[in-house]
């Protein structure tokens, strides 16, 4: 089969992004998966239907994304590590369930292999679900959002997603795109690595009331003041996550840079190529890996040292909003985005930087 993983020496494999997600989930101890077909993530349920039974877990081909996410909700409520995957329109359907998971504090992992929108859009890569990942569904809540930019990270951050979900009892979204889902690249698997929170006791989970009173998984809090109190608790949790879990990469950032690119995922990867060809300019890349919690402070600090901040995205400026919050002088910010499945090229971004800096790079 074309695209089949090829094993290499030293635990390295040549693997497709979508397959790396599956291996990561299995290695992280996920034993429950539900998914519904949608391009460009179909390799995940297909491969999972083989791998999950091999690992002794449960695979369910859900009959809709509503069913997928609620199966994950139920499995999470029962104490299992559970995952679903989809692409943009399917994630829209899951927003209700994600909000319930956040409200009920049920952990779970949701992978979004983004495609172009709105509506049915197309099946090409896109980053236009930044808003719905980072500023999600109804109610006061956040999901942790992780944005890998290569296949190694598709694997590593899917493993990490399960730990974060259990540690904080929170839904975690791996926000990827069609390019990374379809791309094959050589990576290193960490088969025997124990994940930190795999054996964390889940005394809140529903297992049957053995030797105790019945307990509940719920988000409906009708008594006056009860919901506000619960949401305060969620806010405290969110603050703890912001204090402890922000992740980013600084690429080619030194004291001499004139301008800073802020980009995530696929576009960050292309931006590294831009820096590689822009030998005549002093450019650094700041790549947020956690899109929520967002590294506002670090961007604020770096933005003071440069003359220009370029924000590049495969959308019409969604992360741009957060960069604007971070950067005090927003006149410094220049945005370039492609939408509808368009992938910006290195040359295109390089020319944009040149044009906006009178060819000087600052």
């Amino acid at each position: 089969m074309l695209g089949k993983t090829i094993k290499m020496p030293q635990e390295t494999v040549f693997i497709k992004g979508n397959h790396a997600i599956v291996e990561a989930a299995i290695d992280a101890g996920c034993r429950f998966y539900a998914g519904y077909p949608i391009t460009p993530q179909n390799e995940i349920p297909e491969y999972m239907s083989k791998r999950m039974p091999e690992a002794g877990g449960t695979f369910i081909q859900a009959e809709s994304e509503l069913i997928s996410i609620n199966l994950v909700f139920g499995a999470g409520a029962a104490g299992a590590r559970a995952m679903t995957t989809s692409s943009s329109p399917g994630i829209s359907l899951m927003q209700e369930g994600i909000s319930y998971m956040a409200g009920c504090e049920v952990p779970g992992v949701i992978v979004n292999i983004q495609r172009g929108g709105p509506g049915l859009g197309n099946i090409a890569p896109s980053q236009s679900d930044y808003y719905q990942a980072v500023k999600p569904g109804h109610g006061d809540f956040h999901s942790i959002v992780l944005a890998p930019h290569n296949i190694q990270e598709m694997y590593d951050y899917t493993v990490k997603a399960f730990d974060l979900a259990d540690k904080y009892r929170i839904p975690v979204i791996v926000l990827s795109d069609g390019l990374l889902g379809q791309l094959m690249e050589n990576i290193t698997l960490k088969k025997d690595q124990e994940t930190e929170y795999l054996d964390m006791p889940k005394d809140w989970a529903l297992t049957g009331a053995k030797g105790r009173d019945g307990q509940r998984i719920l988000s409906l809090l009708m008594r006056p003041g009860a919901l506000e109190k619960h949401n305060e608790h969620l806010r405290e949790k969110h603050r703890t996550i912001c204090d402890n879990e922000i992740q980013y990469e600084c690429f080619s950032i030194d004291d001499d840079i004139d301008c800073l690119i802020v980009a995530f995922g696929t576009v960050a990867r292309i931006s590294k190529g831009v820096i590689n060809i822009a030998k005549d300019m002093r450019i650094g890349l700041f790549r947020p890996i956690t899109l929520w919690p967002f590294p506002y402070m670090k961007i604020n600090e770096l933005s003071k040292r440069v003359k220009k901040v370029f924000v590049f995205e495969m959308n019409y400026g969604q992360m741009l909003d957060d960069v604007k919050i971070a950067v005090e002088n927003s006149d410094k910010i220049e945005f370039y985005g492609r939408t509808g499945g368009g992938i910006p090229t290195q040359e295109e971004l390089y020319q944009f930087i040149k044009a906006r800096t009178k060819g000087r790079g600052y």
Partner: protein, 248 residues
């Protein structure tokens, strides 16, 4: 000397919380039947229920075993996942007609079709009780609700759905029975049916559902007594009680 003998007590599977349902509402009766059965079968420490969105969303206040909420209509889906993770537990969904027949129609059909080994208790009171008595897919023709003020007519609103008859052809479905709770005798019959749904799950038989024709006097603008009479005369005329499917 007087010898005191306990002849009746509150089931252990009920909490000390008083039922908050309206007088004459069927939920209190069915909640209690379930609690009694869970006690009798000795499965309190193994039972996990999933409550619907609707009046019975508060079921977790009254049952002293594990209970999860679920988004509206996704109740059997959440139950499915819990059962798959804990196959030795007894898992049931408790759903009203808005939850099961309207917004959750796809979910119940596919859960049934997959033959999930869970029990479903379906409370049919022919309207949306919690939100103020709007029309449900199960509302009878000519029945007045807050969204069918002239009475339901088939031209604009279609016909009431007979859920059990809809499910009967699915091969994954092993047991379907419709009951009512309008008299001590019919309540005992209902209990027997629910017991069978639980035993089917314990024995691994497969998907079982009991539909309970249940009173909603408040929305029906009837006294509890009138409501029961209406079930006996009108509701059960359209939704015939009895065992519809039973595959051992």
């Amino acid at each position: 000397m007087v010898i005191e003998k306990i002849i009746y007590k509150k089931p252990e599977s009920l909490t000390d919380c008083n039922f908050t349902y309206c007088s004459g509402c069927g939920h209190s009766t069915v909640h209690k039947l379930i609690a009694e059965l869970v006690d009798e079968l000795g499965i309190r420490e193994k039972t996990i229920a999933v409550a619907p969105v609707g009046c019975a969303v508060f079921a977790y206040d009254f049952w002293n075993f594990d209970v999860s909420e679920a988004p509206h209509g996704r109740t059997p889906v959440v139950a499915t996942a819990i059962k798959r993770i804990h196959p030795d537990n007894v898992v049931f969904s408790y759903q009203g007609d808005g939850d099961l027949v309207s917004i959750g129609l796809a979910e119940i059909m596919h859960t049934a079709n997959r033959g999930e080994n869970i029990s479903v208790i379906f409370i049919n009171n022919t309207n949306y009780g919690m939100t103020g008595g709007q029309m449900a897919p199960t509302t009878l023709l000519n029945q007045v609700t807050t969204t069918s003020p002239m009475g339901r007519n088939s031209k604009n609103y279609g016909y009431p759905i007979k859920m059990i008859e809809l499910l009967v052809s699915l091969q994954g479905v092993k047991y379907l029975e419709r009951v009512k709770i309008t008299s001590p005798a019919s309540i005992l019959k209902a209990k027997k049916a629910i017991k069978k749904a639980f035993l089917n799950q314990i024995n691994g038989t497969g998907f079982s559902m009991v539909e309970v024709l249940s009173a909603c006097p408040e929305s029906w603008k009837k006294t509890p007594r009138e409501a029961i009479k209406w079930i006996d005369e009108e509701v059960s005329a359209y939704y015939p009680v009895g065992k519809i499917k039973d595959i051992e």
